[in-house]
Amino acid sequence: MNTLLFRYVPGNSFLHRLDPRVKITGMMIVSISIFMSSSLRQLASVALIFFLLLLVSSISPKIIFDAVRPMLLFLAVILILQFFLMDGEPVFYIMGHDATYEGLRHGVLLTLRFLFLLMFASLLTATTTPSLVTVGMERMLRPLPLRKLGISSFDLATMVFLSLHFVPFLYGSFSHLRDAQISRGLDMRRNPFGAVYSLSVPMVRIAITSAEEVAVAMESRCYQGGHRSSLHAPVLQKKDLAALLAFSILVLALV
């Protein structure tokens, strides 16, 4: 399932071709405005902006829905909790708790905010390859005095990249290992200690070994830390800046 979440969808739309830094900045502006919006009217404007962008990106709404779907249950829980836990004018009463009108309003606003954040984030990753996201981040972090902390923006970008890479790999190894131990009669419920022991010891070894293997493979391909170039060399063009300016004005005007 994790391949559906924040998946890149190849394409050649205006949004795809936009500089990653512009998209990341736009994402930050829109996130701030989402969190500052306090009425349904403002969130409706956010929705309008989203659908405009979706139209420009020519990404199928199904992709966005697939990315959001795993979170729906979580959002529903937030909504229900808000509904019941907020003080205010009761709407109805169930199991010793008042469901309040204020709770409903608050819950809806909160879940919609999360929902829109997720939708914008998945639109960003659907139109930007992970490495362009990292290159964009790396370029934006470069002016910061990270050197003083002993790391370069390149190291940081590579770290982000490697963690994106490792999660599915370790997950695959883990399910393989779990199958093997269950086949040897491991009963996770009846023997939780045995489960933790027989899964964690090999898992730590697998993680260490594969980390070493990746490190050797990287070294063998001349990775030295420090300066690297990139297949993608985003160059800020006038159209990128114009797009960012137009987007900011749109967001400020509507929200």
Binding site: S173, H176, D179, A180, I182, S183
Partner: protein, 276 residues
């Protein structure tokens, strides 16, 4: 007494855009004491199939039974021992003994039987009992593999399923593993070996199943398998096939080097043909 796979279809991630059919209408049975080879290219569904034999996966449709019992459920895991690929990765015990005893211990075996089962399993694979108290991580790659196999044998399952057990083993370890498996099958344990590398296994298997893109495309004896001439058959059978096409009257179901040798010397009328 057998494993019965009836019209099994399995889909990964059903109902999502990633839905893929891994197995399609597979029916087969594995009898008591039989030595079975399941072959097929990587991605042909072999690994998915064996996860059905001890109930790790449940079919999307169709059913799997082991000695008449549905394959999911804990009892079946004691009957069907499965060893997956890269088995050295599953080792975790502080000592070889602890690791090998993990399976039988989970199935409720206690000392002194437990100890006997562990020792017997190690002995069958040609490992000395001297390695019991040492850490499995200090062993060589081949020994680690054999210890992991012992971990499955020690539960004394009625059916043992091994996924690519020979890949990367040295000649010596390969021979001791193959003879242990033959011994087991002669004593009544069913042995199922899953492999895309068939040349070492055709001479020991009694029956061969061939999977291709999730479907069972062949089932029969090793001799029938080479006569079927799948693209993955051993190189020596390609030689025999070409000899036939050039008019040599060699049998088309010869497999293994000794068979091929006696066929070639027979048609050439060479002296000393019986010697090898």
């Amino acid at each position: 007494m057998s494993i019965e796979v009836k019209d099994v279809t399995f889909r990964y991630a059903p109902g999502t855009p990633l839905e893929t059919t891994a197995l399609e209408g597979i029916s087969l049975s594995i009898n008591k004491g039989e030595f079975v080879l399941i072959s097929g290219a990587i991605g042909s569904g072999k690994s998915t199939l064996i996860r059905h034999l001890n109930g790790l996966l449940r079919p999307s449709s169709g059913q799997v039974t082991v000695d008449g019992i549905a394959a999911h459920g804990k009892k079946v895991k004691a009957k069907v021992g499965v060893l997956f690929q890269f088995p050295h990765q599953q080792l975790f015990g502080r000592t070889v003994f602890e690791d090998v005893a993990f399976g039988p211990g989970n199935f409720g075996l206690r000392n002194p039987e437990l100890e006997k089962h562990v020792h017997d399993a190690l002995e069958m694979l040609g490992l000395s009992q001297g390695i019991c108290p040492i850490s499995p991580f200090s062993l060589s790659g081949g020994q680690k593999r054999l210890v992991a196999i012992a971990g499955v044998l020690a539960s004394r399952p009625d059916y043992i399923v091994l996924d690519e057990p020979l890949s990367g083993l040295d000649v010596g370890h390969k021979k001791s593993l193959l003879s242990a498996l033959q011994l087991l099958s002669s004593k009544g344990t069913s042995v199922v070996v899953v492999s895309h590398q068939v040349s070492d296994l055709l001479s020991v298997a009694q029956r061969v199943f061939l999977l291709d893109r999730g479907s069972l495309v062949f089932s029969g004896t090793p001799a029938e398998y080479v006569r079927h001439s799948p693209p993955s058959m051993p190189e020596i059978n390609f030689l025999m096939k070409e000899l036939r096409s050039r008019g040599f009257d060699v049998r088309d179901d010869a497999f293994g080097i000794d068979d091929a040798f006696s066929e070639i010397t027979r048609v050439l009328g060479l002296k000393g043909a019986v010697e090898e």
